[in-house]
Amino acid sequence: MQAIPLEHGLILAAMLFALGLIGVLTRRNIVFVLMCLEIMLNACGLAFVAASARWGHADGQIMFLMILTLAAAEVAVGLGLIIQMYRKFQTVDINVLTQMKG
């Protein structure tokens, strides 16, 4: 059984990150933007776990746990903001969010 090269894991993480980045830049629906942010966070977690698997440590998995916690809190707050936005503007188009107060 041959081992998996570390670079393949990191390249996969880079490609997933880039796909999430393309999604954030192109989509106009705010739910899609949030989903693509999650893709990017997941790709970062994959990079951490792959790197720690190379050394045989637990540190990367702990960092992944922290990233997961961060993503959970961020999704909760982000979805609350989406709900507020929908109540105020009755749309999920991000182009209505061009005005800042004052």
């Binding site: 670079e7 997933l16 880039a18 739910v31 693509c36 698997a53 190379r54 702990i62 188009d93």
Partner: protein, 160 residues
């Protein structure tokens, strides 16, 4: 194990591509769940079963279900599907794809300089637990404070 890694990697890439191309929100979410489960399989092939289970249970199981709840609550409907199709023209993909391609090329260039293999050692729950209660105990406490902040913030934001 290597075959499983490459298979799961291709599934993850294809389903992530499907997420960013979809016009239907619920379909995109389901493709995202598939991508997250494929990454969980990748974690298992890398010898990190704890991270694999966390990814499957917390990320795909809790966070994406939260997304689904909010989407069902917003109740966007048929009008939004046609709206999505009209928003996704061909020409808006050009600039982001070029910029992301430049980024990925640079990342692949840097990542290819590694000459190491993944060690076949399986870092199981026991090692992660010992590290969490050992050097990283402060991180656990701070993570719980973060979750508390997220909870209070989400409650306030979703209130009428």
């Amino acid at each position: 194990m290597t075959v499983l890694f490459y298979l799961a990697a291709s599934v993850a890439l294809i389903s992530t591509l499907a997420v960013i191309i979809q016009t239907n929100v619920v379909h995109a979410l389901l493709y995202l769940i598939l991508s997250l489960l494929a990454v969980a399989v990748i974690f298992y092939t890398l010898g990190a079963p704890f991270a694999a289970m966390l990814e499957a249970i917390v990320y795909a199981g809790a966070i994406m279900v939260l997304f689904l709840f909010v989407i069902m609550m917003l109740n966007l409907g048929q009008r939004s599907r046609e709206q999505e199709k009209s928003w996704l023209e061909k020409r808006i993909w050009i600039a982001p794809v070029l910029m992301a391609a430049a980024l990925v090329a640079q990342l692949i260039n840097v990542a290819s300089q590694q000459q190491a293999n993944v060690s076949g050692v399986e870092v199981g729950v026991r090692e992660v637990g010992l590290a969490l209660f050992g050097p990283y105990v402060l991180a656990v406490e701070i993570a719980s404070v973060l979750l508390l902040a997220g909870l209070v913030g989400a409650y306030h934001l979703a209130k009428k």
